[in-house]
């Protein structure tokens, strides 16, 4: 569903690679967790997947489409929620959702049904006619999530999705992620909350200084680490 092949990225004229020869694959029906210390290259990798940054080398294939050769078609395959969703402050929540439904060409009945469903789940129905500038960080995140789910994407990509969400919304999001994958789609997300990654991810990749240092299921990672400890402990050992 999502495949990265030897992807590298360098910023400016620095010699140090932000992302260095990264390869992994996210399969259909899989929740894939992406963990690593601050500055390891998680957000850069995600930005290259969602066509906000161009890799210096390597290939990114989303649902069979190369995101550098056919950018537009690739964009239709995923939706993305950044770690701190900066949205248009002067636009009302509902106007934002209509915009998202329009640009993804979501049929009328489907957009009405999905927006109602997710507004209900994230409990922002009452605020949806307010300007986004009046929203709290968490509410902006919820709105961005609703906007990202409108077109029922093949690959749902999230950067630090739990930050800012209240416990209920966080719980609901995890349910949505699982439900999404149960319908044969995929979820790819980065997180620092290793407990969450351990509990909900089918597979996990650990990135350090731009390089993938481990990929696999929790069992596989434990086996390679020769330890039955939690992901947190293994992560600390691997990234030290």
């Amino acid at each position: 569903m999502l495949k990265l092949e030897q992807v590298s990225k360098t910023y400016g004229n620095k010699n140090e690679k932000a992302v260095d020869d990264v390869s992994f694959e996210v399969n259909a029906g899989e929740i894939f967790g992406f963990v690593g210390p601050n500055g390891a290259g998680k957000t850069t990798t995600i930005k290259m997947i969602v066509s906000l940054l161009a890799p210096n080398s390597g290939k990114i294939i989303i649902n069979g489409i190369d995101n550098q050769e056919n950018i537009l078609e690739a964009k239709k395959q995923f939706s993305y929620v950044p770690d701190s969703p900066e949205l248009f402050e002067k636009i009302k929540g509902l106007e934002y959702l209509k915009f998202m439904a329009d640009v993804y060409q979501v049929p009328t009945a489907a957009r009405q049904e999905r927006i109602e469903k997710y507004l209900d789940i994230f409990e922002i129905k009452d605020a949806v006619n307010d300007p986004i500038g009046s929203f709290s960080h968490g509410m902006k995140q919820k709105l961005a999530l609703v906007g990202a789910l409108i077109h029922d994407p093949q690959v749902f990509i999230l950067d630090e999705p739990m930050v800012g969400l209240d416990p209920k919304a966080s719980f609901e999001l995890k349910k949505i992620m699982r439900d999404h994958c149960d319908r044969g789609r995929s979820v790819f997300f980065s997180t620092h909350v290793l407990d969450v990654a351990e509990k909900i991810c089918d597979r996990i990749a650990i990135i350090k200084k731009g390089k993938i240092i481990e990929v696999g299921t929790m069992a596989e990672i434990r086996e390679k680490a020769g330890s039955q400890e939690s992901l947190e402990n293994i992560f600390l050992e691997l990234t030290e």
Binding site: Y11, G12, N13, K14, K47, V50, S51, L52, L53, A54, I71, L72, E73, K75, K76, Y80, P82, E86, L87, F88, E89, K90, I91, K92, L94, E95, L97, K98, F99, M100, A101, D102, V103, Y104, Q105, P107, T108, R111, Q112, I115, E116, L119, K125, D126, A127, V128, N129, D130, P131, G133, S134
Partner: protein, 561 residues
């Protein structure tokens, strides 16, 4: 004091992005050269305008010498500089004190409100001193050289110059702080900003109308003669303005003729300036932080029922229309954008209307103008077309289209909208604004010069077509070098070189296009003139469209690299 200096440096750095500039010099050469180019091109681009201004002021001075009225020269300059500082300063004050995000980070720190207020004020002053140097220094120098003044004049001029932006800005800041702290204005800060800006424009118009009415019919008068008329026919004029701005008397008494009393007047001027500053700080200490803390509340919309939400979502829009609607909403709802991109289409036709309304054109002159129009429709048509292109070229709507989105631009870059739809949506907004300008102009002109429908259609179509290359060039510029990293929307426009470049290129293009096709139309054949106009505009538009269409998707990938 050290803390104030550090804070001031921080605010200036934040405004101009020095840290980023030096970071880019080391780590991101491409961005560094872009910024360096901007730093060089801005002063270079302003040189011709500055020389024109200095020439105009020199001519005014010599005109006044002839009628032995040089004593009012400094007063004219002082009043003009003060008015301009107030008008442009309002936006800076509002931006720095009320629309900048940095207060959210600074309020929790153990810094006294007094230091924050003084630092913010000083950071505005730095820019205003640069502005005042362009406007007022030439006046001081022309007068000093013309009168053969000595060292004391230089010394006293320096102190006068030091006070010139401080006094009006202190009072303006105090006034804005008092209005902003009113609790009834909660959630309406956008509206307030628009009101302030339009008050500023109203002041300019008021002065303009008043001056115009003082000039009578103003036939064939050049600037010198206008000034002479103004001064000889209306001796009380400067006194009247002077009473509204009493410090202009102190300045005039101090500098017109250097005596021992000049030092007293300059000390008085410094004293008044200091008091105004102290008043502003005292008011600020009482109300500023309080109004910032309570002023973040935005006006909420009404609660919608499920049916109302469904109804709002029912109509599907095409990608281009979605981009168009979003861009237009941002433009109309953000006061800074509205003022910079939209207000010109209201102000320019208003100027035309005011000129026609307040200057009484004698019937024989009017008849002459109408005869001229009938005899040379080609020239008049091209003049109208040039005016219509002006709305497209000056609005800078496309030249800031991506920059205006700032940090939220990730959204429009991520969505699956074709380059064609992006171009259509964004250019469409600019054309809509331009069309409003055209419409208002026609309404303003129609009462004096009723234009035939065929003339209207021809000039409107060619006006819009002729401006398309400028609009697309603006889009091309902003696609290549968007300014996304800003903390207040003012910077997306005011710090954006795309606006200046598009304006200059647009002016040069318009001049050439109108010149070539107008001359061909007048001297050879009108159809040929219009034909050449259409051909050049269409070819340029096509070329820009093709280039943007080809490159937009890949350029989106470079916005953050």
């Amino acid at each position: 004091m050290k803390e104030i200096i550090n804070l001031t440096k921080l605010f200036i750095n934040e405004s101009l992005g020095f840290s980023l500039f030096f970071y880019n010099r080391k780590f991101n050469k491409k961005e560094y050269y872009k910024q360096l180019f901007t730093l060089i091109i801005v002063p270079v681009a302003l040189i011709p305008a500055f020389f024109m201004y200095v020439s105009l002021m020199s001519a005014t001075y010599f005109g006044l010498t002839m009628i032995n009225q040089t004593s009012v020269f400094l007063s004219i300059g002082y009043i003009m500089a003060t008015v301009l500082i107030i008008v442009f300063g309002v936006m800076y004050i509002l931006s720095e004190f009320y629309f900048s995000d940095n207060m959210e980070e600074l309020i929790p720190l153990p810094i006294s409100p007094r230091k924050l207020i003084i630092s913010k004020f000083l950071s505005i002053l730095v820019f205003e001193y640069i502005f005042a140097a362009f406007i007022f220094l030439p006046i001081l120098i022309i007068y000093g050289v013309g009168q053969g003044m000595g060292l004391f004049y230089v010394l006293l001029s320096f102190f006068v110059f030091v006070t010139i932006p401080v006094l009006p800005l202190s009072l303006m800041t105090a006034l804005i702080m008092l209005i902003m702290q009113s609790t009834s204005l909660k959630g309406r800060k956008d509206m307030l900003q628009i009101i302030f800006v339009f008050i500023g424009i109203a002041v300019i118009f008021g002065v303009q109308i008043w001056f115009t009415s003082q000039l009578g019919n103003g036939d064939e008068a050049d600037f010198q003669r206008i000034m002479n008329t103004l001064l000889t026919n209306n001796e009380g004029l400067l006194n009247m303005i002077g009473f509204a701005m009493p410090t202009s008397f102190l300045m005039a008494w101090a500098l017109n003729k250097i005596t021992l009393m000049s030092f007293v007047w300059v000390i008085a001027l410094l004293g008044i300036t200091f008091l105004a500053c102290a008043l502003m700080v005292a008011i600020g200490e009482r109300v500023y932080i309080k109004s910032i803390v309570s002023g973040k509340i935005m006006k909420k919309g009404k609660r919608l029922s499920s049916d109302e939400r469904s109804k709002a979502l029912i109509k599907k829009s095409h990608g281009a229309m979605a981009v168009f609607t979003m861009d237009l909403r941002l433009l109309l709802r953000t006061p800074v954008y509205f003022f910079n991109n939209v207000s010109v289409v209201i102000i320019a036709p208003l100027c035309v209307w005011i000129s026609f309304s307040f200057i009484q054109i004698p019937p024989e002159d009017l008849q002459g103008m109408q005869d001229f129009f009938r005899e040379m429709p080609v020239l008049v048509n091209f003049l109208l077309i040039a005016f219509f292109i002006f709305f497209g070229g000056t609005s800078a709507t496309t030249a800031t289209t991506f920059s205006r989105e700032g940090k939220a631009s990730w959204l429009t870059r991520m969505i699956p909208v074709t380059a064609k739809d992006q171009i259509m949506g964004r250019t469409g907004v600019a054309i809509l604004i331009q069309s409003l300008g055209i419409l208002f102009t026609i309404i303003a002109v129609q009462s004096i010069f009723p234009l035939a429908l065929s003339t209207l259609l021809l000039t409107i179509i060619l006006g819009i077509l002729g401006s398309l290359p400028i609009l697309l060039f603006g889009l091309f510029m902003d696609m290549n070098r968007p300014l996304l990293n800003w903390d207040n929307p003012q910077k997306a426009i005011k710090n954006n070189m795309n606006v200046v470049i598009t304006l200059f290129v647009g002016m040069a293009y318009t001049g050439l296009l109108i010149g070539v096709s107008g001359l061909l139309g007048y001297f050879v054949n009108s159809i040929l003139g219009y034909g050449v106009f259409v051909l050049i505009s269409a070819i340029l538009s096509f070329v820009f469209y093709k280039v943007i269409n080809e490159r937009l998707e890949s350029e989106f990938l470079n916005f953050e690299s």
